[in-house]
Structures are given as C-alpha cells and as structure tokens.
C-alpha cells in the first residue's frame, strides 16, 4: 500500500502513517488498499482519510473464492481464499445441512447431494458488507474525538472527511477535491 500524508505536524504525520498501516493490517484490510491519502489538520480540526481499493467492492460467490469439482454425487471444494472459509461453511451448512457437508482439511470440503450449479453461485460476502468494514477501519484509524464524519464513495475510492463539531462548506469541498483526485488515480495528489 502506498501512503501519502499531508500534515504540518512532524510527529503527528509520521506516527499516523504507521498507525494507519498497523490498524489496517490488524483488521485485515491493508492488502486490499492500493493507495491511501491522509490529510491531517488538527489545528482546524479537519481530517481527510481517502483510500483507493485494488478492486471495486462486489458480492463474492463460492466460485470466486474456491475451486469446485464434481466426483460421482459429491462436490469437492478447495478454498483458495481463506478469509471466506468460515462463511462458505456457514452457507453450506445452512443450505445442505451439517450431515451433508464434511470438512476434510483446512481448505478442502465435500458436499453430498449437490451440484456445481447449486454451490458455485452461493454468495459468501456482500460488497456492501465489505464497504462497511473498510469505512469502519478508516473510522477506527481516525482520532477519537473527531466524531462528525462524512463519507464519499465512488467506485474503488472511499474518502472520509471528519471534524469535531460543525462541518463548514469549505471542509466538504476540500474533502471532495481530494476524493476526486484519488478516484481519478492521479499520481499528483
């Protein structure tokens, strides 16, 4: 993840850069981010945190995150993205019952009495939920007292503008300007 920090505060700027990386890694979102821009103006106070994701948040199906093959009347699933493993199991148990689903190893499962057409399109993570998690992670990395927040979302770019009390129009305009630059993917941000 590429990070750019705009701040007049020497210590604050450096420490928030590492704080942002640590928090995003803790919540498992760092690898999904292509670029982050942190604008820190504690003297106002105004904080703009903008991130550009590697891919647009979308629903994920079992076919997206696992390989599926059929042998006789049994479906074999090999999970390729471990993050979704718990959700895959949960969905399979709900639809086919625990007796029909067997987890053989950490990444391999079998489903009896199902077809690839039944299993492949099952949604295991919604794009909306994913977006919510990213916004939550950004909120978590922001200073605690900065509670008045506004979020801009455009395709892969999410920008949170936050201040302590009342939003003044110029704050939102500034936030929108950074958001647009990040959304365009400009390297001149």
């Amino acid at each position: 993840m590429e990070i750019e920090v705009i701040s007049d505060e020497g210590f604050g700027g450096t420490s928030y850069e590492s704080l942002f990386v640590e928090i995003m890694s803790d919540v498992g979102k760092a690898f999904q981010m292509e670029k982050a821009l942190l604008v820190l103006k504690p003297e106002v106070p105004l904080f703009i945190f903008s991130v550009r994701l590697r891919s647009e948040p979308a629903d994920k199906t079992i076919a997206d995150v696992a390989s599926i093959r059929t042998e006789n009347d049994t479906i074999h699933i090999t999970v390729t993205d471990e993050r979704y493993e718990a959700n895959i199991l949960k969905e399979l148990w709900e639809r086919f019952g625990r007796g029909s689903v067997e987890q053989q190893t950490r990444f391999d499962m079998e489903v009896k009495g199902a077809s690839e057409g039944d299993v492949g399109p099952i949604t295991v993570a919604s794009g909306e939920e994913y977006l919510k998690e990213i916004v939550g992670a950004i909120w978590r990395s922001m200073p605690e007292g900065i509670k008045n927040r506004h979020t801009f979302i455009k395709e892969q770019t999410i920008t949170v503008v936050a201040t302590e009390e009342i939003f003044e129009p110029h704050m939102l305009e500034e936030g929108m300007a950074y958001h647009m630059k990040m959304a365009e993917g400009g390297k001149d941000v």
Binding site: E9, G10, F11, G12, S15, Y16, L19, E22, I23, D26, L40, P42, E43, P45, R140, P143, E144, G145, I146, K147, E164, E165
Partner: protein, 314 residues
C-alpha cells in the same frame, strides 16, 4: 536508612521471609498473591539487605529495588476507548507497577477531541486522591496544547506523556515526557522500553520533590505503621479486594466502607493517641467503599494539641 525491595517468586516459605523482615525491624508494604506466585514489597534497614537478598535467593525468588513502592499513581487517558487503551496507557501502568507503585487506569468521561475536551470536578477530585497522575495524550501538538485544562488544576503532581513536545507547559504540569503518543501495539522494542523507563524516572523525580516537601514538616506517624495496625482490624483482614490497604506518601487508602467503619478506625489507638486525632478520614470520591486517610503533620498535631490545651485552661 531504609531501602525498599520487592520479592518476586513462589509462595514457598514466604511466611519465613515476612518473619525475617519483621525480625530485622522492616515493614511489609504490600503483599500480593496470585495463584502460587507471590510479590512482597518491603522496607528494610539498609544493613540487612544482604541477609534478605540471600534468603530470597535461597527460596527461589528474585529481589530488586523498587523506587516507587509505597505510592499510588493514576494513569489518566482522555477516554477508555480503543484509541488510547490498552496502549500506551496500560503499558505505562504496568511498567510503574514493576517499579513498585500501585497504579490505576482512568479514562475521562469527556476527554476526547480538541475543543470539546473537558474534565469535571468529580474527576479532578478523584485524581487528587492519588500521589501523582500521569496524563497520556495523543500525537498532535496543536491538540495537546489546547487540552492543558484537563490537568492544569490537578493538585497532585502531574506528568504529561505525549507524542510531540508541547510548548507552554510551564506551571501546568511537573514534567513532560515526549515520544509516546497514540499507539496500536505494545511498547516492546528497546527504544520503547527506554521511554517507559524515562516515564518512571520522571515519576520518581517528581515524587522525590514531594517527599522532600514532606520532610520539611514530617508526618506525625509513618503510613506503614497505621497499615500494620489496620491489618489486624477484622473487616480489613477479611477484605477480598486486591491490596485492601494501599500506602500513599501522606496517608493510606483502605478498601472498606466509610460509613460502616470510619468511627472504629478513628478510635483505634497508636502510640497512645487516637487515629482520629492524628489523621483525617474521608470517603473516597470514587464511591463510599474506600476510606482515604490523610496523616496530619507533626506541626499540625502540635498546633491542635496546643489549641485544645488552651481551651481546657480555666
């Protein structure tokens, strides 16, 4: 001269250690048992240090000097939210405990933010019950300088711990330690441990000044002597709270109810005087389940005695 040491080891033969400390004329300041492990903080005559150290080694424990023993310190953060807890506030509190202090962690109800941060009278009075307070603020100089009202009116010595070094702190706190702001992980690397040592050193220095002030007009009795007396009082002896009697530089905190027990304690006798005559008892501001005992200085006691004698004269 007395020296304060901490034994850290198993419970095996600790009763013998306690007897030995009492035999050499020392005092047990704190005794904390956790399962099969025991921590004993003791004040012993310097010339007997060798004997005590040798015995501790013999029973398989370690012994080390603890400069902050006999103090209770509050580590205060703007809130108890995850932005400030557990790092660095708990790291600081834990490090001070290793130096022998009893520490508590506090979060303010409305301490977050820059312009809206505030402390109320009740919080201030609670902090004033401790020997010293450490305020841990964040990473932005502008915010820290705007939040000095949080600690500028605290009466006990205050140490500010913050990321950048703020300006204009003269007269608002006793010491400032910079380089420790908001953190998302434990302070475990050598430079971070060195920062924790720096904080402990600042606390020690600030408390040394306080002790020097107390030496100018000494207390009428040492808090440890009242502690020894209180430990024989059944409600204290039966109290299940950790460290039921905590020493302060100028008194004690006793973790039993004020309404029920203050009269009994006031009427206890030590060196031929009632505790009520030489100490002030008040309920803790946290709730009424603790009693704060402030020991009067010798000059205060003498002044009150002479006032009483004057009133008794016909």
């Amino acid at each position: 001269m007395f020296e304060v040491l901490m034994y850290d080891g198993g419970v095996y033969r600790t009763e013998e250690l306690i007897e030995l400390v009492e035999d050499v004329g020392g005092v047990i300041i704190q005794k904390t048992r956790s399962s099969q492990m025991m921590t004993v903080t003791m004040s012993i005559p310097e010339e007997d240090k060798e004997v005590i150290t040798e015995f501790c080694r013999e029973i398989g424990g370690v012994v080390r000097p603890v400069p902050l023993a006999g103090t209770e310190i509050a580590v205060v953060g703007p809130t108890l939210g995850r932005h400030h807890m557990p790092h660095p506030i708990c790291d600081i509190a834990e490090h001070l405990r290793r130096q022998g202090a009893i520490t508590v962690v506090m979060g303010l109800a409305r301490g977050r933010g820059k312009k809206t941060a505030q402390i109320n009278l009740e919080e201030r009075m609670i902090i004033d019950e401790y020997d010293a307070a450490i305020f841990s603020l964040g990473n932005f100089k502008a915010c820290i300088e705007a939040k000095t009202d949080l600690f500028s009116e605290i009466r006990v010595p205050t140490i500010l711990v913050a990321g950048p070094m703020p300006d204009g702190m003269e007269g608002k706190c006793e010491a400032v330690v910079s380089g420790v702001g908001r953190r998302a992980s434990r302070m475990r690397t050598p430079p971070e441990r060195a920062k924790l040592d720096e904080i402990a050193d600042s606390v020690e220095m600030v408390l040394k000044d306080r002790k020097r002030l107390l030496d100018e007009d000494p207390l009428s009795i040492h808090p440890a002597e009242i502690k020894r007396l209180l430990e024989e009082y059944e409600p204290v002896n039966m109290c299940l709270r950790p460290a039921p009697v905590v020493l302060h530089l100028d008194g004690l905190r006793v973790k039993i109810g004020y309404d029920e027990h203050h009269e009994d304690i006031e009427n206890m006798e030590i060196y031929g005087r009632r505790i009520g005559e030489i100490c002030r008892l008040s309920p803790s501001k946290i709730n009424d389940s603790s009693i704060i005992i402030k020991i009067k200085t010798r000059s205060e006691v003498r002044h009150e005695d002479s006032g009483r004698e004057g009133a008794d004269d016909p």
